[in-house]
Symmetry: C7
Subunit: 95 residues, 7 copies
Amino acid sequence: MAIRPLHDRVLIQRVKEEEKTKGGIIIPDTAKEKPVEGKVIAVGSGKILEDGSVRKLEVKPGDRVLFGKYSGQEIKVDGQEMVILREDDIVGIVE
Amino acid sequence: MAIRPLHDRVLIQRVKEEEKTKGGIIIPDTAKEKPVEGKVIAVGSGKILEDGSVRKLEVKPGDRVLFGKYSGQEIKVDGQEMVILREDDIVGIVE
Amino acid sequence: MAIRPLHDRVLIQRVKEEEKTKGGIIIPDTAKEKPVEGKVIAVGSGKILEDGSVRKLEVKPGDRVLFGKYSGQEIKVDGQEMVILREDDIVGIVE
Amino acid sequence: MAIRPLHDRVLIQRVKEEEKTKGGIIIPDTAKEKPVEGKVIAVGSGKILEDGSVRKLEVKPGDRVLFGKYSGQEIKVDGQEMVILREDDIVGIVE
Amino acid sequence: MAIRPLHDRVLIQRVKEEEKTKGGIIIPDTAKEKPVEGKVIAVGSGKILEDGSVRKLEVKPGDRVLFGKYSGQEIKVDGQEMVILREDDIVGIVE
Amino acid sequence: MAIRPLHDRVLIQRVKEEEKTKGGIIIPDTAKEKPVEGKVIAVGSGKILEDGSVRKLEVKPGDRVLFGKYSGQEIKVDGQEMVILREDDIVGIVE
Amino acid sequence: MAIRPLHDRVLIQRVKEEEKTKGGIIIPDTAKEKPVEGKVIAVGSGKILEDGSVRKLEVKPGDRVLFGKYSGQEIKVDGQEMVILREDDIVGIVE
């Protein structure tokens, strides 16, 4: 079963905590909102601009991305923890 | 009796909880807002853009969609539980 | 005595509760805002767009519409309970 | 002494309560904001649009209008109770 | 010493209470914000529109204007009480 | 060491209280926000407009300006008290 | 491991307090938000404008910048304290 995000939304699979430490990124434990890591599973058709045209998203399936911990909406698909959020809530791509 | 949503609004029939579990989507029980599943019954003529033109909606009647649990306005039509919301409150389409 | 709504406003006569039940729509009794039914009596000349042009409204006198219970401003005209609201507060047309 | 409202503002003389009842409009006594009646005394040169052009107002001196009770700013001119508000705060014209 | 307001701002000298009463305007004493009277001393070069062009202001030095009592910023220039505010905070011109 | 403000920001050196009194401007001591005086040290390349073009700022290095007391961000550069704020927070130029 | 910021975001490495003092900038200790210093490590592809075009950022890798202490999101990359924020949160470039 697949989910196609609408417009400028992106479906992301959270990366588990253990895997994240291996990747070299350690999230400091402060009061500030901290980005978490995830893998892009599916992307929407693009952002609808004010003149009605559509702009393709910059992220693509397979990208490792950082996004705000409290961004978007959580969902479980086939037992996997996922998040659906807007591309603008993604702060960066891990390369 | 039918209801035609106005502009960029969409009329959605909620999917009952049992059916949802069968479909493979399990909504985790956390404090965050979680999307629920529904079937599109009717869509408005489209979103009115700033220049006055109208942009057709991306969802169409029959689509299975995920939307914010607290989005839109509830209504019962001919005994069926329905929700009327804006297309932008739909986060994804189940395929 | 008649009232001509300004711009994108619409004058609506509330439909009495009894009549509404006959029409098949039952508004569930929850904490969420629920749309109520009414009949369009008069519409404004249209929405003024950012470039100064005017866009005709989609609803017309005689339409049965659903709108937010707490939308707009109440008024009594010749003993009739009316509501004046913006077309954007109307969620759908009953057909 | 005269006052010329600026841009999209309108100078309105409130209609006294007695006169209003004669005109057939009875404002129901609820918690919601209710429009009151008044007579347009003077109008501004028009609304300044985003491209710098000016759009003439739809109301004109002499119009009987309904407006939000708490809209705009009160002022007494030559002993008369007046209100200065933006045309967008006027909900309709009494014909 | 002179002050040149920036963009769409206007420098206004408050009119003293005594003088205001002579002019025929009596500000009613209610809880609502009430406009006060002043004389335009200097105006900015104009409002910067979204496309970068500049639109000349409608008020000019010497105009008697009404403005919100709590609008703008107070300043004393050469012993005179002045206010610097945006033209949009001026509700009307006294003629 | 120099600081180049970004976009529509302006670097301002506060004028000391003594100097200000000599200049003839006395800031009344009320509860309202009052503008303070400063000297423009450096300006950004200009405001980025919605179409991506850049509009040069109206103030230039050397200008004596009035700005909101609580506007912008304080910083000390080479022992001097400075403020970095957006040009729109400047209310006027002292001439 | 590298992080590529998305759109108009910038990846910045905080400058340690000791180094900052040497650079001549002393941040006064007041209640106001104060900018802190950092080095730009990576920049996004640019800000997406309303017409869908992309505007290159003004800062570039290597720039020493000042930014709001509480702006953006903190992250540790390969043991280094970093911040990801939007270019608009950068107030100036240290030259």
